[in-house]
Structures are given as C-alpha cells and as structure tokens.
C-alpha cells in the first residue's frame, strides 16, 4: 500500500504556511469558489454523502447536523470550536497556528450551506499565537473578498469574529461555549434542545470543531465519493492522531480512519521508548476508556473502538509503558476533571472530589479495600447521571483502569 499523503496537514510544513498567499498558491479558496456555484442544499448533500463525522469528540455526522437547521429560520449562526483542552490533544492548535485558512475556507463553505451570515470563532484563551493567527487570517480573507458582503460576487454575506475563552475546559462543550460567547459563566445547557435547534441568543447554531471544518474544502474540492473511499464503513476520511506519552516520536500524524493503533504507535510514532512494553493506551483523549495492549490491533475508527470498549474521542493517543504507575496516572487524570468541573451538578462537583480524595489515599499507600469499593460505588453514582457528558467522561479512565489494573490497585491497599 502506498503511504498516506497528508490532506489536512498538507500545508503545515511549508514556509509561511499561515499566510493567505501561501495558502492560495496551493489551491486555497478554490473549493469556496466551487461551493458558491452550487446550491446550498447541494453542498449539504455532498457533506452528508461524504460520511464526515465531527472530530471534536462526539463524532456526530456533520451533514446530518446541518440538515437539522430550520430552513426558514431568519437568523442562523455558526460557531467554530477552537477550545481544544482535552488532555492529550494538540491537533487543533497545530492547524490554527499553521494553516488557519484551511479552517476558514471550511467556515465560509459551511456558513453558506446552512445560511448563516455570522460566524463566531471561539478560541481557548491560552492559545496566544492561535488568537493572532485567527485574527490575521480573517482580516486577510476580508481583504481578498472571501468574507464580508457579496463574497466573490455570489450575493452571499458572511462576517466572522474571534472570541477568546478565558481558561475553562468545559467551554469546549458546545452549549457551555455558547453561554461563554454570550458573556456568561461557561455552564452547559440542558440538551435537547440541541444548538442546531436553539443556540446562541436562541437562534439555530451549528457548532463545529476546527479539524472537522478543515475537511470541508477537500470534500467539496475533490468530491464526496473520493472522501468516502477513505476510511472504514462508518468512519470516513483522514484523521489527525495526536500521539504522546512513552513513544519515541510523539506528534500529530494524519492517517486514514481505520489505521490500526499498532501501526500508528510503532510505525509512525517510532515505537515505545527504550524498547519497553506497553502497559496501557488511552485512544481518544482522557475522557475515553483505557485499553490494554492486547487491543493494539484495533483499527482507529468510531465503530471499532466502540466494539473494543473505548471510543475514538479526539483521536489523542496516550501511550503508557510497563513502568507507569497506573494509580498515579489515573489520579492525575481525575485531578484534571475535578479542577475543570463547572460545579452546577452534584455528581460531578462532589463526586469528583470524593474520587480524587480516594485515589490520593490509595496512591499514598493509606487505602483499604473499602476505598477501592468506594471508587466503584462513586463512579457508578456519577457515570451517566451528570448534567453534561463531562462527569461521565471523568469516570471512564477510572472504571476501565481499575478493571484492567486491579492487581496494581490491590497491591496498594491494605486488606
């Protein structure tokens, strides 16, 4: 098989890759021209046919989401999720910093498809360079007539603005992001209604991850049939896998969905440091269940990871070798969630603190079997019972970790 030629990351290593001139010299904004000559419904149909699913973690089919927007709604919004905060994930930052126009072209095409004339870019407050790159890209796009009134003579208008978050992981959750964009505390809203029905200022709002949007120009440019020929049955197209932890070459690797985990770790990321054996793998960011090394041959796709007992999540692969202290690794993940809990629901706010305390006790060698039972009881009282998916995500590494590494936990507690 010929090696995969990057599509999403084809520009990022060029000199001055972030500039509009570089982008346009390599086919940039051609897909926009093409899309503006299509009917909006045809653009939606093309994205639907491509099989593209969201890259922000939930994997919802993008074209289907666009179809939910009420055609007759007078005002519709598009919100661009650049809040990337799921530990282990560092792909969105790369695209925003090195190839912001590839996202922006997707933003304009998407807004045209759903009939939005206003798009809001929400970016994680800590992404200082990313903020600058977004602002510059948007300013240059205005100057070239890709934004503003009557874009490329099509009669379509679109304004885009950049909004900085201010340090809150939960604002990556789409409804919390909308609250934050409205100038409020980033506390999630109850779903349904989904943002596509009632979003920003109660108007239908499409929220999309930046990697998802970076796919759009390729789907329109090369066609849905080409796109759908990449990947597996239910997971189409290329995906950026972020590999970190105990590997020789950590980094972002763009590969077709369905690439086996083993190939990503051993061929692309250079294998495990010092030739050690793998003890555990987090396949999709810290909200996804931990996998044992006997699952290394799982294809990295939505359906296959679900069957293996985990999830594709953001595609952030964290590799832990045989020397890893799993109690400490899981404690560390839990401490992240406890820090980031927005606090509106009790299972996540209080349950998280209790989980962390218990893990700290066990980690310090002061735990008993009752503490292990408490972890189990607490996860069952949190998982599936929180206001938003974050609290449930918090339990995934704990439940799977104890299940897989029970003997390590047992060895740390007094009988």
């Amino acid at each position: 098989m010929t090696p995969w030629q990057p599509v999403l990351l084809s520009n990022v290593n060029r000199p001055n890759s972030e500039r509009i001139t570089t982008y346009m010299a390599h086919g940039g904004y051609e897909a926009l021209r093409k899309a503006l000559n299509m009917a909006p419904a045809a653009v939606i149909a093309e994205v639907k046919a491509s099989g593209l699913r969201g890259r922000g973690g939930a994997g919802f089919p993008t074209g289907v989401k666009w179809g939910f927007i009420a055609q007759d709604a007078p005002v519709k919004y598009l919100a661009v999720n650049t809040d990337e905060g799921e530990p282990g994930t560092f792909k969105d930052r790369l695209i925003v910093e090195r190839d912001p126009h590839s996202i922006l072209e997707g933003v304009i095409i998407s807004a045209y498809a759903v009939g939005a004339h206003r798009a809001f870019v929400y970016i994680r407050g800590e992404f200082f360079l990313g903020v600058k790159r977004w602002i510059k890209a948007i300013a240059d796009a205005y100057q070239h007539g890709f934004l503003g009134k009557d874009i490329l003579g099509s009669g379509f208008d679109l304004d885009v603005s950049v909004h900085r978050g201010a340090g809150a992981y939960i604002c990556g959750e789409e409804t919390a992001m909308i609250e934050s964009l409205e100038g409020k505390r980033g506390e999630p809203r109850l779903k349904p209604p989904y943002p596509a029905q009632i979003g920003m200022w109660d108007q239908p709002t499409i929220v999309q991850n930046v990697e998802t949007l970076a796919n759009i120009r390729h789907i329109i440019g090369r066609g849905a049939a080409w796109y759908a020929s990449i990947g597996t049955e239910q997971s189409k197209g290329p995906k950026i896998f972020c590999v970190s932890g105990h590997v020789n070459r950590p980094g972002n690797y763009e590969l077709p969905l369905g690439t086996p985990l083993r190939e990503i770790i051993y061929e692309h990321a250079g294998g495990v440091r010092m030739g050690r054996r793998i003890k555990a793998i987090i396949p999709g960011g810290v909200s996804t269940p931990i996998l044992p090394p006997d699952k290394l041959d799982v294809p990295m796709a939505f359906e296959t990871l679900a069957a293996a007992g985990s999830a594709l999540g953001t595609g952030a692969i964290v590799v832990m070798d045989e020397t890893t202290d799993m109690v400490e690794a899981i404690r560390r993940i839990t401490s992240f969630f406890v820090h980031e809990s927005c606090g509106i629901c009790v299972p996540c706010r209080i349950g998280g603190v209790r989980l962390l305390e218990t893990l700290e006790t066990i980690g310090a060698g002061k735990g008993t079997l009752a503490d292990l039972e408490r972890l189990d009881y607490l996860s069952r009282s949190i998982s599936g019972l929180t206001f938003c998916p974050m609290g449930t995500g918090m339990c995934e590494p704990i439940a799977s970790g104890i299940n897989l590494f029970r003997s390590e936990f047992d060895a740390r507690v007094a009988a």
Partner: protein
C-alpha cells in the same frame, strides 16, 4: 464590516448585546492593571450596564481572570498526564522551585516570579511544557529551563 474593527486584544465586538462583551471587557480591564481589582470590576459593570456581582460571578468562573496579583513572570508548568509521562510535571516544578526558591502558588519576594501548576497546554507532543506569561516553552530540559530563567532574571 471593517478590518479595523478587530481589536488588538483579540476580540472584535460584534453584537449590541452588552453582556456578550463581558469577557473581552474583562480582558481589557485586566490588561491594564495585570489583575482584576474590585474597582476594575465595578468599572466594567458600569460601562456594560451590568451588576458588579454578575461581572464578578463571570470573572471568577475563568482561570485566566486573576483576582490576585502575580509576579512579573507567571511560570505555569503543565501538570498533565503526557507531561508527567515524559518526565515533566513534578520534576519541572521541583527543578524550578529549587532554582527560584518558591513553591507552586507562591511569588518570589522581589515580585519577579510566580509559580503555578496548570492543566494540559495542548503541547503533549512536545512535552514537557510550560508557559511564562504569553510564551510557550516546549521539550523542556534542565538546560533550557536554566537558560530561560537566567534570561528572565536579567531582564530589567
């Protein structure tokens, strides 16, 4: 729409709803004083026609809005899983602590440095990582940390 509508602070105010301007207003207020004082919060509230309590409530939700002053250089070391696995996190914090003589959550007596542990910086592929004010430092080693701290010690 005009390109000049884009503010240097990173936020272009697009909606007449005053509330939606709150985060950007807080950034501007904080940029000026380095910290959000009660007076700054009251001023923001007045300018946007909001209650000071509401402004405080929103500001207190977000970690980047700071109610307590910090040193001139705020060193934020990633405490995330991937940085921990790559020998970062604890080791980097301990190393810096030993060098500048303060622990996490503290500020040096001369007000030059504050030290903090923070969540994943989205630099896991270039771990260990830390941020000092607006600058990101990746693939940290004792030698690179020494060089960074020495440079900042020397800044007048």
């Amino acid at each position: 729409m005009n390109v000049t509508d884009i503010q240097p602070s990173g936020v272009r105010i697009v909606d007449p709803a005053k509330e939606a301007m709150l985060l950007s207003a807080l950034y501007i207020a904080q940029e000026r004083e380095g910290v959000l004082t009660p007076e700054a919060i009251a001023r923001v509230a007045e300018r946007l026609g909001l209650e000071p309590g509401q402004v405080y409530s929103v500001a207190s939700f977000y970690t980047l809005f700071r109610m307590q002053p910090t040193g001139r250089y705020l060193i934020q070391v990633c405490d995330g899983l991937s940085c921990y696995l790559c020998g970062g996190a604890n080791q980097v914090v301990d190393y810096i602590s030993a060098k500048i003589g303060i622990g996490p959550g503290e500020t040096t007596p001369d007000g030059r440095f504050s030290l903090e542990k923070v969540q994943c910086l989205a630099s896991c592929g270039t771990a260990p990582a830390m941020r000092i004010n607006d600058d990101l430092y990746e693939n940290l080693t004792p030698a690179t940390i020494d060089a960074i701290l020495e440079r900042l010690q020397g800044e007048v």
